[in-house]
Symmetry: C2
Subunit: 152 residues, 2 copies
Amino acid sequence: MNIDRKDRQILEALQADARQSLAALGKRIGLSQPAMSERVRKLEEAGVIEGYGARVNLRALGVGLQAIIRIDTTHAGIAKYLKLFDAMPEVLSADRVTGESCFIVRCAIAEPADLERVVDALAVDGSVTTSLVLSSPVNKHVTVQAARTPKK
Amino acid sequence: MNIDRKDRQILEALQADARQSLAALGKRIGLSQPAMSERVRKLEEAGVIEGYGARVNLRALGVGLQAIIRIDTTHAGIAKYLKLFDAMPEVLSADRVTGESCFIVRCAIAEPADLERVVDALAVDGSVTTSLVLSSPVNKHVTVQAARTPKK
DNA sequence: GATGAAATTGCACATTA
DNA sequence: TAATGTGCAATTTCATC
């Protein structure tokens, strides 16, 4: 799929606010409402837009802190950990990575006492290194520049 | 703000698909359309819902790999890095953390050659440890269980 | 672009804790 | 008696031609 300037503007805008009306967005970037609908439909169909999600405030849901935990395990432990991640509601995301660790996991923790339980649970089959998140100063959308070499 | 069972269902559903109609969602969880609108409005107003965003496929935008880079710097370097993160389109997010590192940064890289440039740029005022993301097997919504101790 | 279908919003009223 | 939910009408938004 070929992504032109207007598509990029659309992606940018929908990342910032996915519930704005397509008509209003079209007016802003100079496109009629049906043209907008068609572009968005194609972006969805091509898998460029994977979905739309609400951003929720973790604090409001009782999550007092977040932790980023690195896990080092054996090759055999990997499958075991994948199951564990699925079973633990505190695990928000897990990335399999190269380097000294096998996984980098982000966890939502209600309060300090829960952190101990989570760390213990994650240490069953490997070693863990825990970093508490103090703040998240940067959280960007994917921008035009980040997509320097679009697939043809 | 008090969040009851229906609110949790709403949050869950809107995290999964933020563009579904409130009418359909209301029917599913047993609420009339205006009642749904009202609940969503209140969740937004209370800051529980911070916004709505499109999830875009990084591969489709030419991002061939992602890296998670830990940065260790001096206290004086922190402000400098915050500016640098803002200026670098490859930086998707940065968390300030406790532990041996000061920041954990996620970067979108077009191709391997760009990784070198990004790592070099991030190493100007501290030491970096780079992990390439092989896969992201877990990516969950915030669930009811994760919010064990809701604020009153 | 224009048109019909669907969704959202606003308002008056009922219900319940 | 507040707070919350319902039903209906008016407006806006969306999909198809």
